[in-house]
C-alpha cells in the first residue's frame, strides 16, 4: 500500500492508502477526499480532478503528457505544479506523496 496525503484548500490534511496500479484520482474518490470531482470518471476528458503536486514530489511524479496539458487549459488557476490526478498512477516509489487540492474545480 502507498500512502498519499491530500491537503485541501483550507489546509486540512488527509492521508489515505492507495493501491499500486490505480490512480491518485481513484484513491481520492474511494476515500471520499473532498475537492476532487472527476466528472468524466478518469477519461482525461474534463479537468475536475486538478491537484497541485508538493514541490518535493514534482520530479518523481513527472510532467503532464501533451493530452493532459490540453485538458489543464480548462482547469482553474493552473500553476507550474498542476496535474490531473486521474493521470497519475500510484506506484510504490510514490509512497508518502503529498498533493494539494484547489478551492474549486470546474
Amino acid at each position: 500500500m502507498v500512502q498519499i496525503t491530500f491537503i485541501d484548500s483550507r489546509g486540512t490534511a488527509r492521508t489515505v492508502e492507495g493501491e499500486a496500479g490505480s490512480t491518485v484520482m481513484e484513491t481520492a474518490i474511494k476515500n471520499g477526499v473532498p475537492e476532487i470531482e472527476a466528472e468524466c470518471g478518469g477519461a482525461c476528458a474534463c479537468s475536475t480532478c486538478h491537484v497541485y503536486i508538493e514541490e518535493a514530489w514534482r520530479e518523481k511524479v513527472g510532467e503532464p503528457s501533451p493530452m493532459e496539458e490540453d485538458m489543464l487549459d480548462f482547469a482553474y488557476n493552473v500553476q507550474p505544479n498542476s496535474r490531473l490526478s486521474c493521470q497519475i498512477k500510484v506506484r510504490e516509489d510514490l509512497d508518502g506523496l503529498i498533493v494539494r487540492t484547489p478551492d474549486r474545480q470546474a
Partner: protein, 355 residues
C-alpha cells in the same frame, strides 16, 4: 413566436438514452423530436469522450463512445426522428391532459403529448473562468460566444484560450477589431495546427498580439470592462486595455432551466421518478438516464436503455388512450419488423391499380 410544431413526443437531450428512447417509442408508433443544446448528436459521449472505450453495454464487449452513438443512429433511422441542435429547452408548460407546450431559447415552440427528459448531467454551458467579479461584465463586455461579429467592430478585443473556439474567433475578429490580443496560459495550442499557423502569421505581421499568461482581475465600471490584469508564468504582472473579453474555457454541465419546471429535485440536481414507468410527479413528463433518481438508481447507459423501454409502454397509453397495447418482440413480430424496414420479402401479390 413561431407556429408550434405538433408532435407525439419531445425528447430533451440527444445523448444515447434520448436516442434509444426514439427506438422504443418508434416501435409503438410515436413520433419524436429531439432538442439538444450541443451542436452535435450524442451528448456527453460525443462531446466529452468520443474516443474513449465503453465495456459495459450488454452484448457489445467493446465500443467507443462515438461508436455507440453512431450505432444508435443507425438503429433509430427507420423512425426518422427530427433533431433541433444548438437549442436549449427553456420552458415546459402543461396545456392539456396531457399536452405540453415546450419552448426553446431560439424561440421555437412545440406542442407534444409527452415530454421525455433525457438531459443527462444537464445542459452543456461555457465554463466561467475564475476571475473575481467577472459576473458583473457578462453579457455586456464579457462574452462566451460570438453571436454577431459586427458588434466587435473597432473595439479592443481580448480573446482567452488555446482551443479551436479561441483560435477561430481570433482569426475571424482580427480584421474587424481595432486591436486584438490572444492570451493563453502556455505557448502550445490544442487548436487545429492550420489555425495556429494562420494565427502565428498574423502575430508575425504585427496584426495581433499573442501573450502567454492568465487573467487575474478585471477593471471597468457599469458592466463595461476597460482592462484586464494579467500575470505571466514567471510571476510578472501587467495590464491589457480592452473593450471586450472573450474567454473560451470549454464546456461544463449545469442543470439549467430544468430546475424551474416544477419538480421537487433530489439533491438539487436529479428528477425523482417512479421505477415502474420513470414518470415524474407531472403525469406525461418522463425522466430517463442520468438525470433521474429512484431507489437503487445506477448512472449506467444500460439502465437508461431499460428506463426508455418501460417509459414507452406508459407513454403509449397517453398518446393512444383508445388503443390496446399488445406486447411484441422484434424477433417475431411482422408488424414491428415492418416498422424497422426489415420485414421478410413475400411474393408480391398481383398488381392492381387502385380505383
Amino acid at each position: 413566436m413561431s407556429e408550434p410544431i405538433k408532435t407525439d413526443v419531445v425528447i430533451v437531450g440527444a445523448g444515447p438514452i434520448g436516442l434509444f428512447a426514439v427506438f422504443e417509442l418508434g416501435l409503438l408508433d410515436m413520433k419524436c423530436h429531439l432538442i439538444d443544446i450541443l451542436d452535435k448528436i450524442g451528448g456527453q459521449c460525443a462531446e466529452l469522450y468520443p474516443e474513449k472505450p465503453i465495456y459495459d453495454i450488454p452484448g457489445i464487449p467493446f465500443t467507443s463512445a462515438q461508436g455507440l452513438v453512431d450505432a444508435l443512429l443507425q438503429q433509430i433511422k427507420p423512425f426518422n426522428p427530427l433533431y433541433h441542435l444548438n437549442e436549449m429547452v427553456e420552458t415546459v408548460e402543461k396545456i392539456g391532459d396531457p399536452l405540453f407546450r415546450v419552448t426553446t431559447d431560439q424561440g421555437k415552440v412545440f406542442e407534444a403529448k409527452i415530454v421525455v427528459i433525457a438531459a443527462g448531467g444537464g445542459s452543456f454551458q461555457p465554463k466561467r473562468p475564475p476571475i473575481p467579479g467577472i459576473e458583473a461584465y457578462e453579457g455586456k463586455s464579457v462574452h462566451y460566444a460570438v453571436r454577431k461579429m459586427e458588434s466587435f467592430r473597432d473595439k479592443r478585443v481580448l480573446v482567452v484560450g488555446g482551443g479551436d473556439s479561441a483560435l477561430d474567433w481570433t482569426l475571424n475578429l482580427a480584421p474587424i477589431a481595432s486591436h486584438l490580443t490572444l492570451l493563453h496560459r502556455r505557448s502550445e495550442f490544442r487548436a487545429a495546427p492550420d489555425s495556429v499557423n494562420k494565427m502565428m502569421a498574423l502575430v508575425g505581421d504585427g496584426k495581433i498580439d499573442l501573450v502567454v499568461g492568465q487573467v487575474t482581475a478585471l477593471s471597468g465600471g457599469d458592466g463595461q470592462i476597460s482592462k484586464a490584469m494579467v500575470k505571466t508564468n514567471d510571476g510578472s504582472a501587467f495590464e491589457i486595455a480592452c473593450d471586450a473579453l472573450l474567454p473560451f474555457f470549454g464546456l461544463t454541465m449545469k442543470l439549467g432551466p430544468v430546475a424551474n419546471w416544477g419538480f421537487e429535485l433530489k439533491n438539487n440536481e436529479l428528477i425523482p421518478v417512479d421505477s415502474a414507468a420513470f414518470e415524474t410527479s407531472i403525469p406525461g413528463i418522463f425522466a430517463i438516464g442520468d438525470i433521474n433518481w429512484y431507489p437503487g438508481k445506477l448512472k449506467l447507459i444500460l439502465s437508461g436503455f431499460h428506463e426508455a423501454a418501460l417509459m414507452a409502454q406508459k407513454a403509449y397509453r397517453y398518446v393512444y388512450p383508445e388503443k390496446r397495447l399488445v406486447f411484441q418482440y422484434t424477433t417475431s413480430s411482422t408488424s414491428l419488423q415492418k416498422k424497422l424496414g426489415v420485414a421478410p420479402e413475400r411474393p408480391a401479390a398481383p398488381a392492381r391499380a387502385a380505383t
